[in-house]
């Protein structure tokens, strides 16, 4: 379903070329839960952004359900992401002047009441981000990512800014609301990858065997 073929991402850093992702190929089936582990600077987030169409690979290509992402215009790629992908970041990135319900609605106009209930943040429905705890905000961010029931969810260190109980709760919620969709989780914390169908370990831009 999601295919990454010989993906490379090269940054120019001062005088040197830095190969953030170096010739990675990946074939992911529907419903898989993929964990991506690795130390800082190993290229795990870069790989995630390449697969999500948020970055253009220096070489190689990504295709989803037969559509090569590199062949799309910027606007078409944005629409494609909106339709098929959901995103969760380390920081919640909720918009401060919008309530939880409105923040979720920025991703789509589906009904979020049941979802907030399921994520145990129904009481935050009409609260603004500054009125919520870090854990609550991250769960609202999860709701925003899954509200349109995307085919793939990309989560980049979704628990990094949470304490242990909140991190566990966020992961539990994330697993529950993904509902058979494909899930990518980039993390330093292997414990949250319990139940993953595959765990990819990255080092210097490559997937270790």
């Amino acid at each position: 379903m999601l295919l990454g073929h010989r993906l490379s991402l090269v940054y120019r850093d001062a005088a040197n070329d830095v190969r953030a992702v170096d010739g990675v190929s990946l074939d992911v089936r529907e419903g898989e839960f993929i964990g991506i582990l690795g130390p800082s600077g190993s290229g795990k987030s870069s790989l995630l952004y390449l697969l999500a169409g948020l970055k253009q690979p220096t070489s190689g290509d990504v295709s989803f359900a037969g559509q090569v992402l590199g062949g799309l215009t910027q606007d078409a790629l944005a629409e494609f992401r909106r339709k098929h992908f959901g995103f969760i970041f380390q920081n919640h990135f909720l918009i401060n002047h919008l309530t939880s319900r409105e923040n979720i609605a920025t991703a789509g106009d589906a009904d979020s009441a049941g979802l907030l209930e399921e994520l145990r943040v129904a009481h935050c429905r009409d609260k603004f981000p500054w009125q919520m705890s870090a854990g609550e905000k991250q769960r609202v961010a999860i709701a925003r990512a899954v509200v349109r029931q995307p085919k793939v969810i990309f989560a980049d260190e979704p628990t990094a800014s949470l304490d242990r109980p909140n991190a566990d709760l966020a992961v539990e919620c994330l697993r529950r609301v993904t509902r058979g969709g494909t899930l990518f989780v980039v993390t330093h914390d292997e414990s949250i990858l319990h139940g993953a169908t595959r765990v990819l370990r990255m080092k210097a831009g490559r997937i270790e065997d």
Partner: protein, 377 residues
């Protein structure tokens, strides 16, 4: 309701948009008040040229007397209705830019009646000047401007600072759309009654048949031995002075518009930087740059419209108060509505919007959501 609508942003971020709204409102208000006052003063002064829609003054060029044959020629012209012998008499009128001379029409009683009728003026209070007396009747605007009432005397004999030799007395107040003042020809023309009579140059009031003033003026201007003071000349006298002031204030207004637009663009740029996380995440989750530009453009447009409407309301309110409290009681019948200042004020939000739009567009084109997310992440 769309959570990304300009209205939602506006009402939830009052503190953020307030500085821009205040600056724009204040400048729009300033432009409206200053330019409306100036345009109004110009129009209110042009009112004093209305009498020249009906007649034109003819003076000798080199001598104090007009050639008799020429007066006969003027009277015989097909566009002439009547030629009235007159003399020079004027009062000082206090205006906002200092004292100005206002010419009275010296004529005989039946001619005074005729002149008043031609300009739809009538006696409001008191009496018309009696023949052979130094009495005058003045339009109510002149009376208000000088703060005079019936019985008031003027002339060098009364006040050394005055410009008109002798002593004159106001006996009547006139009203009507055209400001006019009248006095006795018999008095000014008789050296036994008025010592300065011999020094006054002759002049005639050439009254045109209705609708034929242009034709009469063309004829008068073709005469070599006389000077003509007609509508064009009277308007030129008023417009020249005011147009210079209006030009200066238009320049100031345009400079203000450019500076304020630049400030608004800069503020927008700062707000954009403050909201960079918001734009990054919206781009990441699949909103297009075009949609974000429309969103920010809409927010700015709402802000501009609100500021312009507020500035317009405040400006017109302030101008109405200034007009009612200061100008009208002083006999300055300034009109309220002026298209020019409204159009100039409208340029402010439009230019600011374009400027702000360009700033945002430039920044949106360069934005890389991943870079921002990773930096904040």
């Amino acid at each position: 309701m769309d959570p990304l609508s300009p209205w939602t942003y506006g009402r939830r971020n009052v503190r953020k948009i307030l500085p821009t709204v205040i600056i724009l409102t204040f400048v729009v208000m300033l432009v409206i008040v200053i330019l409306s006052t100036l345009a109004g003063l110009r129009d209110s002064t042009l009112v004093y040229t209305r009498e020249f829609d009906e007649w034109t003054l003819v003076f000798p060029k080199r001598d104090t007397r007009l050639p008799r044959t020429l007066i006969q020629e003027i009277a015989a012209h097909p566009a002439t209705e009547r030629v009235i012998d007159s003399r020079n008499c004027f009062v000082r009128v206090k205006t906002l830019i200092g004292p100005m001379p206002f010419n009275l029409r010296a004529a005989r009683p039946e001619e005074i009646d005729y002149l008043l009728k031609r300009v739809n003026a009538r006696l409001k209070e008191g009496a018309l000047p009696r023949p052979g007396t130094s009495e005058v009747a003045l339009h109510e605007n002149i009376m208000k401007a000088n703060g005079w009432s019936i019985g008031r005397e003027f002339g060098i004999d009364v006040d050394e600072e005055d410009w008109m030799p002798g002593r004159f007395r106001v006996v009547g107040v006139l009203e009507g759309p055209t400001p006019i003042g009248v006095c006795s020809f018999d008095f000014l023309n008789n050296p036994l009654m008025y010592a300065f009579s011999a020094k006054l140059w002759e002049r005639v009031v050439a009254v045109a048949k209705p609708g034929r003033i242009g034709e009469l003026n063309a004829f008068l201007r073709s005469q070599k031995d006389v000077k003509v003071y007609d509508k064009t000349r009277a308007v030129d006298d008023v417009v020249q002075g005011f147009d210079r002031i209006i030009l200066v204030f238009r320049f100031i207004s345009i400079t203000l518009i450019v500076v304020v637009s630049f400030v608004v663009g800069l503020l927008n740029s700062i707000f954009f930087a403050q909201r960079i996380d918001e734009f990054a995440v919206l781009l990441a989750i699949g909103h297009t740059k075009r949609r974000l530009f429309r969103m920010v453009f809409g927010e700015t447009a709402l802000m501009m419209t609100l500021s312009w409407a507020l500035g317009l309301a405040l400006g017109l309110g302030l101008f109405a108060a200034f007009r009612g409290i200061v100008l009208l009681p002083r006999g300055i019948p300034i009109p309220f509505w002026h298209a020019g200042p409204l159009l100039v004020s409208l340029a402010l939000p439009v230019v600011a919007q374009v400027f702000a739009g360009m700033t945002v567009l430039g920044r949106l084109r360069r934005i890389d959501p991943v870079q921002i997310i990773e930096r904040r992440g």
